[in-house]
């Protein structure tokens, strides 16, 4: 966890955020039926104000300029009374949402762009395995990361996978699926299909498990438990044509005529339990790494498109074309006014808003979008 900002860091971030909402507040996307949404404003002191209501986008923007929160959230749910405590709000359904985050992807490039930062003595190192600061011994010490293009591509391919599941299996047409870059290390996918709105969290959990490939049985491709630990193969009614049945059977090279092959396969693996594990592994591998908690929560306040993410100073941005979308260009919307910051890591390379920066441990003048980006991650400090 990166601690809340104080002193000059706080001042600089707040100034940049206020300026942004003053100039670009109109870029915020108004949620459907705004008057029925609950809003949450996170302060730079780390305290969230929830149960707020705004009857129009204009009023919301006015309060963002005035209060300058670090992060802005709106409920995925619609309520009769958004300002009341949760049990009295009168729930009227919630948008179906998905969150794909870098932390769930386990990409290999991570170590090449991670830093260890000490929040006590402010020193900064290339990632190692230390759990406390080698210089001052503090354990107020965390790993921070600057995502690279490979990270973004990894995320994108996961998002595409999600799109495919939603379209071919769940039957949601592409124009009802909206994709956003979260502003930091992830993507959000919103489904604008009202028929999903009244699903409760149990139903959403089941849908999430489907997409993640969790909880699959060997029965889906016809391997059924018999007496004891024995098994028999009987292909299911409806065959292996679609969905998970097709994914698994394709992977194993099975069709409904290959009963003998399948039997042999199970035996080779040992027994039905081993086979079930194999199927479960395949499903997990082929499933989409979404954060199921987000999808399951029908009372969540969720980052609003067009607002700033305080972990980066980038905005949550609509991706019209996922393939060509470049968050380091399109999501960087703070101004270019110059500020002085002290860079903490020994060396640092990044690309933002069409410029490449190669920085080292010293005080430099940089555009404020760079300053905020690095300060928000604890890799630089305002001077």
């Amino acid at each position: 966890m990166i601690p809340t900002k104080t002193g000059k860091d706080l001042q600089m971030m707040k100034a940049a955020f206020r300026e942004f909402y003053f100039n670009h507040g109109n870029r915020i996307e108004e949620p459907v039926r705004i008057q029925n949404r609950e809003f949450g404003l996170m302060g730079f002191d780390g305290v969230m104000k929830r149960h707020l209501k705004f009857s129009s986008l204009g009023r919301l923007v006015a309060s963002l300029v005035l209060e300058t929160p670090s992060d802005v959230f709106a409920s995925n749910a619609q309520y009769d009374f958004p300002v009341l405590p949760i049990s009295e709000k009168g729930w009227r359904g919630a948008d179906l949402i998905f969150d794909i985050d870098l932390k769930d992807l386990d990409l290999k490039c991570r170590l090449s762009h991670s830093y260890m930062t000490c929040f006590s003595c402010r020193s900064c190192y290339f990632s190692g395995s230390e759990d406390r600061c080698p210089k001052c011994g503090s354990n107020n010490f965390a790993e921070v990361m600057l995502p690279c293009d490979r990270c973004i591509n990894g995320l994108k391919s996961e998002v595409s996978k999600l799109h495919r599941f939603l379209a071919s299996d769940i039957g949601i047409s592409p124009e009802k699926i909206t994709t956003y870059f979260s502003g930091n290390n992830g993507f959000h996918v919103h489904v604008l299909d009202e028929s999903f709105n009244d699903l409760n969290s149990q139903a959403r959990a089941d849908l999430a498990a489907y997409i993640m490939g969790i909880g699959i049985l060997a029965d889906v491709i016809g391997v059924r438990r018999d007496t004891h630990n024995d098994f028999r193969v009987r292909f299911p009614l409806g065959g292996l044509d679609y969905g998970w049945r097709k994914r698994i059977s394709d992977k194993l090279g099975i069709s409904i005529t290959s009963e003998r092959k399948l039997t042999k396969l199970v035996k080779e693996l040992g027994d039905i339990e081993q086979f079930r594990k194999r199927v479960a592994d395949i499903a997990k591998e082929m499933g989409v790494r979404i954060d199921s908690q987000v999808t399951t929560d029908v009372h969540r306040v969720f980052r609003m498109p067009g607002t700033l993410n305080s972990k980066s100073g980038l905005t949550k941005t609509l991706c019209l074309d996922l393939d060509s979308f470049d968050p380091f260009e399109e999501s960087c919307q703070l101004s270019s006014r110059e500020v002085a910051v002290e860079i903490m890591p020994p060396r640092l390379k990044l690309r933002l808003k069409g410029e490449r920066f190669s920085l080292s441990e010293e005080i430099v003048r940089v555009p404020i979008f760079i300053g905020v980006y690095l300060i928000s991650k604890g890799l630089a400090h305002a001077v």
Partner: protein, 364 residues
């Protein structure tokens, strides 16, 4: 349905010929809760006080026998008579239930009526000769009654297609792995089901629909014969059938979910029963109350239930009082249905307290 019935005068002659029933009367016998069965009653100008007539005595007796066997064995009655008899038996049955006015028995009765229809419906979907009759039945039961589209699959013989959303809304009531969406044939927004599965999917809903009807029903008076039967039956209900006093919304989602399942007669996995019982013990319910919670379980056996609850309470065997399983454990068992009110919880018993804390910190 009943309220409008009360305004009709009886005419003895059979007016079936002039009616616009599109389903066969045999179908109405099996599904007496369909709108068309009510229509049929309208057309016959049936009057509630007719139930006091000796010639309808056998109907009252049949209905009350059905309820007695539900009280004693918790099992539905699958005998099938002519539609005139079945529709009236159904009506008298719910009148008696209304007069007895016991939540537990009302639930049980509705569940049994649902199970009864379920059996007939499976059979009909498997065998009803004409595709058009089958379609009509699907329409009457699923679309008219439950607002759910079910279509015979064009692709697979003897399978039915339901929308993914319709499936998900109902399937989460089942804990068996095979009901998880991932273990279903899913394609292009539809789930393919065989007749048994299709019908199984709506059991809880039909039960709830009947419950709702009984709740809404507001007869001007209850005929003497019905009241008489109700009093006799009431005396035979075991004492322990009291419902819990606490408002359900005060329970954490995991507990609510388990209670919902119990209410519609779903089979709870062992781990869920342990959670429910230990939670209720932890919030101060007594053993009697907890045992009666399990009344609706399809495999309910009071002696066994009591033994198990006492065991968990530490009044038997090892004399160790069992703690409520942690949220992590429940999550791993697939029993957690966390909402944002659960933020930061380690154990379900913290639920109410956490809510308060959460409001105080965030409502500045």
């Amino acid at each position: 349905m009943l309220r409008s019935l009360l305004f009709y005068k009886r005419i003895h002659n059979n007016r079936l010929a002039t009616m616009t029933i599109r389903l066969g009367t045999a179908d109405l016998a099996k599904y007496p809760f369909l709108n068309e069965a009510a229509e049929y009653m309208h057309q016959t100008y049936f009057n509630l006080d007719d139930l006091n007539l000796p010639e309808l005595g056998h109907i009252v007796e049949r209905a009350s026998n059905r309820i007695r066997s539900e009280i004693e064995h918790g099992k539905p009655d699958f005998t099938l008579e002519r539609h005139e008899i079945e529709i009236l038996t159904f009506l008298v049955g719910i009148l008696i239930i209304k007069a007895i006015n016991s939540d537990n028995l009302t639930k049980k009765h509705c569940l049994c009526e649902a199970l009864r229809a379920e059996k007939f419906l499976v059979h009909d979907l498997k065998t009803h000769g004409e595709p058009s009759t089958r379609k009509l039945l699907l329409f009457k039961v699923f679309k008219e009654l439950l607002k759910m589209d079910v279509l015979p699959s064009m692709k697979y013989q003897l399978m039915f297609e339901v929308k993914v959303t319709d499936y998900l809304k109902r399937s989460h009531l089942f804990h068996e792995q095979e009901w998880k969406l991932i273990n279903r044939l899913v394609h292009d927004g539809r789930v393919f089901l065989d007749p048994d599965e299709t019908v199984r999917l709506i059991r809880a809903e039909v039960t709830n629909l009947l419950l709702e009807r009984i709740k809404q029903m507001n007869p001007s008076h209850i005929p003497a014969t019905i009241r008489g039967q109700a009093n006799i039956l009431k005396a035979s209900i075991p004492m322990a059938s009291r419902k819990l006093a606490n408002a359900p919304s005060a329970y954490p989602p995991c507990v609510n979910h388990a209670l919902d399942l119990m209410a519609v007669g779903e089979n709870l996995p062992h781990s869920a029963r342990v959670m429910l019982a230990t939670y209720m013990l932890a919030i101060g319910k007594n053993i009697e109350e907890i045992v009666s919670l399990f009344k609706n379980a399809p495999d309910y056996d009071e002696r066994v239930s009591r033994y198990q609850v006492e065991h968990l309470a530490g009044e038997r065997g090892s004399r160790v009082r069992y703690l409520v399983p942690s949220c992590t454990k429940l999550r791993n068992d697939g029993l957690c249905f966390a909402t944002s009110q659960c933020d930061g919880l380690i154990n379900p018993v913290q639920f109410g307290r956490a809510v308060k804390y959460y409001r105080e910190t965030n409502l500045r």
